[in-house]
């Protein structure tokens, strides 16, 4: 099915100016709208309202000419980014009909609705539903439903029918002009010079001479339109493996209703998972609003889940995090649960009150925290094999390890009463003012965060050279010292750069504190 938004740029501006239902409410009394852009070094009109056609304004007309015809023409410059995002959100909304929605150029969509139309009571009512809903949101649209994408495209833009019956598409498009085949204008022009005006003219010609004269692309388009060649439409959003949805005649608004609905959907989908012996790892709930927006909530679990209560519980936490951001508008009329990632399920998940299965409650805790705080805020250490202290470790999300929590094997120091590494490391080494004997002595006094510390004991230096393969040969080595001041505070500080061998003015930094 092809959905063509014939006046997308001006519709976008009209929606902003007059509200989304400007088409339904009969156009306000105001000068015609046009959108301009610079083409061929002149400011030209690239899109205009349907209303503006009355005044003999057309696409490609120079702005000065248009202004001469209609002095109070309202012009806006083209904003491609806004149009693209608008098309994207329209595509997201059209997912309520089918998950296979693809962008087509800058102002149209393709939807693969094989097998979906019966849900709406037949093709005619499906097409009518799409048209009315999109028009109600303020877009002028032309739709066509056909067996092939190419035929639908052609009919939507150049034809008059809205539904092409099965196997009738070749006949239906044969009377359409050649531009309906999505060909370049040069090819169309050259075909026109030879005398071919409609698709029907070239449909039955011998193929080899056509290819030789006009190129491979022409035949590809013909075959795509007639169905001899498949056209690949790649959907915009990843298609979920399993999905379960619920449609409401009366849109729901309250959070409790949404939670209950999610619980029902989770219960429905468990049967499908059990049949395939899978458990849920990542899933999302899409809430389709009546007036054209889509909200999406995602949830991730460390181990495959099959308990509907636990899945619903994770979504409750997620909703709790969104609490004030969830704007229901006039209500949601479709709620869909998509399973994005499912892994083989091992082990039973009865309702454990408290039993031996350790790790189960820990995994549940991690999932709950991830749902509420965000999975990037529940962290554990991961290690790297390097000498530079701040690079030795990183805090990474817990659930990003396929359920296992075994970090890489890096040798860690053994417990010791006189530790060589500080317990706490500052986020960034802080510069300090220190006095030390050159070249290699520890400082005797230093000032950090406006407090002066007198050193009583020290040990060092421990030299950690730079990683020249990462930082470049100009980077300096560090000489670390463990120092203790007269009160007992113990610091880990370093001198950045060897005196006289690497730099004449080495700086001192504070890096960590010992317990």
């Amino acid at each position: 099915m092809s959905v063509a938004f014939t006046h997308l740029p001006t519709d976008r501006i009209a929606r902003l100016k007059w509200g989304k239902s400007w088409i339904l409410n009969a156009r306000a009394d105001s000068p015609p709208l046009a959108v301009t852009d610079v083409e061929n070094n002149a400011v030209r009109i690239v899109a205009h309202e349907a209303y503006a056609a009355r005044f003999s304004i057309f696409r490609g007309q120079a702005l000065s000419d248009a202004r001469a015809l209609v002095p109070d023409l309202e012009c806006h410059t083209r904003d491609r980014a806004a149009e693209r995002s608008l098309l994207g959100s329209l595509a997201a909304w059209c997912e309520r009909y089918t998950p296979l929605v693809a962008l087509d150029g800058e102002d149209a969509l393709f939807m693969d609705v094989t097998g979906c139309t019966h849900l709406f009571g037949g093709e005619a009512s499906f097409v009518a539903d799409v048209e009315t809903r999109i028009t109600a949101q303020g877009f002028t649209v032309r739709v066509c439903l056909a067996d092939t994408a190419g035929a639908a495209w052609a009919m939507a833009r150049h034809g008059t029918g809205r539904i092409i019956a099965r196997d009738q598409h070749i006949q239906a498009i044969s009377s359409l002009p050649l531009a309906a085949l999505r060909l370049d204008t040069s090819v169309v022009a050259s075909l026109g010079r030879v005398g071919f005006k409609t698709i029907g003219c070239i449909a039955d010609l011998p193929r080899a001479p056509l290819t030789a004269r006009f190129g491979r692309h022409l035949l590809d388009r013909l075959d795509q339109a007639s169905g001899r060649q498949d056209e690949i439409i790649s959907p915009l959003m990843p298609v979920a493996e399993l999905a379960s949805e619920k449609r409401f005649a009366e849109p729901i608004v309250h959070e409790d209703d949404i939670k209950r609905c999610i619980g029902i959907l989770a219960g429905n989908i468990i049967a499908l998972l059990e049949r395939r012996d899978l458990g849920v790892r990542t899933c999302e709930v899409k809430l389709f609003r009546v007036d054209g927006e889509v909200q999406s909530l995602g949830v991730h679990a460390a181990n495959p889940l099959r308990d509907p209560d636990r899945i619903a519980g994770l979504f409750h936490e997620r909703l709790g995090r969104l609490h004030s951001d969830l704007d229901a508008g006039f209500g949601f009329d479709i709620v869909r649960l998509n399973i994005l990632q499912a892994d083989p399920f091992n082990g039973d998940q009865h309702d454990l009150v408290e039993r031996k299965d350790t790790g189960e409650r820990y995994a549940a805790l991690i999932d709950r925290l991830g749902a509420r705080l965000g999975t990037n805020r529940v962290l554990q250490f991961s290690f790297a094999d390097t000498h530079i202290p701040e690079r030795r470790f990183a805090l990474v999300p817990v659930s990003g390890r396929d359920g296992k929590t075994d970090p890489d094997q890096v040798a860690l120091p053994r417990p010791s009463r006189a530790p060589t590494r500080p317990l706490v490391l500052l986020e960034r080494p802080e510069p300090i003012d220190a006095i030390a004997q050159v070249p290699d002595s520890p400082p005797s006094r230093f000032r950090w965060r406006k407090v002066v510390y007198e050193i009583a004991r020290s040990e060092g230096p421990e030299r950690i050279a730079c990683e020249w393969w990462r930082d470049g040969r100009a980077s300096l080595s560090r000489d670390y010292f463990r120092v203790e001041d007269t009160q007992g505070y113990r610091f880990w500080l370093f001198r950045y750069g060897l005196y006289d061998r690497e730099t004449t003015r080495p700086n001192w930094y504070m890096h960590g504190l010992f317990a």
């Binding site: 925290l369 805020r377 030795r392 530790p419 986020e427 004997q437 020290s458």
Partner: protein, 269 residues
């Protein structure tokens, strides 16, 4: 330096004090686990309650490492034995000042950094919620809740709730308060940590040796308050008495204090 008895509010050492009766689901921790230091255990009436809420407080930001070391020591020695993970709730305001635990340092302190899990919430409400959820999970050994100062919403009700959770699940919950004042709360014990010059290092005379801290027990629900010098033994993962026996403060050769004064003008003639 022997223990200074009864600082502040002294509680009479009664004999019946096993404290309030344990709640349902309590897994037989009625007597506290002893520290191994007789005087301290006497003050705690047997030992520290391991399925309870405790607080470790320090006054200055630079004391944070000492307080963290003490809290981690408590978690290592007194946390739930059959579990191993320690859960740490980071306070975003605090980590800018004081930094984050360093895995190598944790390992030298006797704690396996692979068993640490962190949560980094944005608001205090989320932090309290995370601590709550973690305290309920009996697969954890201990929960450390880092907080800076004395925020208003972390009040008596919140601490009471954490205490009840800890009691039910057996997890040791410790509040690590940085740069905070004393505040009434439902904790079983509250400790104030201060640094002391360290003991001698047997291998290297001028170097910093084993750490010693002055721990002041400011509030004790089941006994008296007091002050002790403790040091942590990472190999055994226990606390030891840290009173210095002989002071051998060997000093490094220091530059004279006049080193940073401007050069005196040359004498004339």
């Amino acid at each position: 330096m022997t223990a200074i008895a009864s600082i502040g509010t002294a509680k009479p050492a009664t004999n019946q004090s096993q404290g309030p009766s344990p709640g349902p689901g309590d897994n037989d921790r009625q007597t506290g686990v002893s520290f191994g230091i007789p005087d301290l255990d006497r003050h705690l009436n047997g030992g520290i309650w391991t399925n309870a809420l405790h607080e470790v407080r320090c006054s200055l930001a630079r004391d944070f490492a000492c307080a963290a070391g003490f809290a981690l020591g408590l978690a290592a020695q007194f946390g739930k034995p059959d579990a191993r993970r320690i859960f740490w709730v980071i306070d975003p305001a605090a980590s800018v000042d004081s930094g984050l635990p360093f895995p190598d340092g944790l390992s030298e302190h006797g704690i396996d950094p692979k068993m640490m899990v962190f949560a980094r919430p944005i608001t205090l409400r989320d932090a309290l919620w995370s601590a709550d959820q973690a305290a309920k999970c009996s697969d954890l050994s201990a929960v450390i809740f880092q907080v800076k100062g004395n925020p208003k919403h972390f009040d008596m009700t919140a601490t009471r709730r954490l205490m009840l959770r800890a009691r039910e699940s057996g997890v040791l919950v410790c509040v690590l308060r940085q740069s905070g004042d004393q505040e009434a709360s439902a904790t079983a014990t509250r400790w104030h940590v201060e640094i002391m010059p360290s003991g001698p290092d047997p291998d290297f005379e001028p170097g910093p040796g084993q750490a010693r801290h002055v721990q002041t027990l400011e509030r004790n629900r089941h006994g008296r308050t007091g002050q002790w010098t403790l040091s942590w033994n990472p190999e055994n993962r226990t606390f030891e008495d840290g009173t210095p026996k002989a002071q051998t403060a060997h000093r490094v050769r220091r530059i004279h204090a006049s080193a940073d004064r401007p050069d005196s003008p040359a004498e004339v003639g």
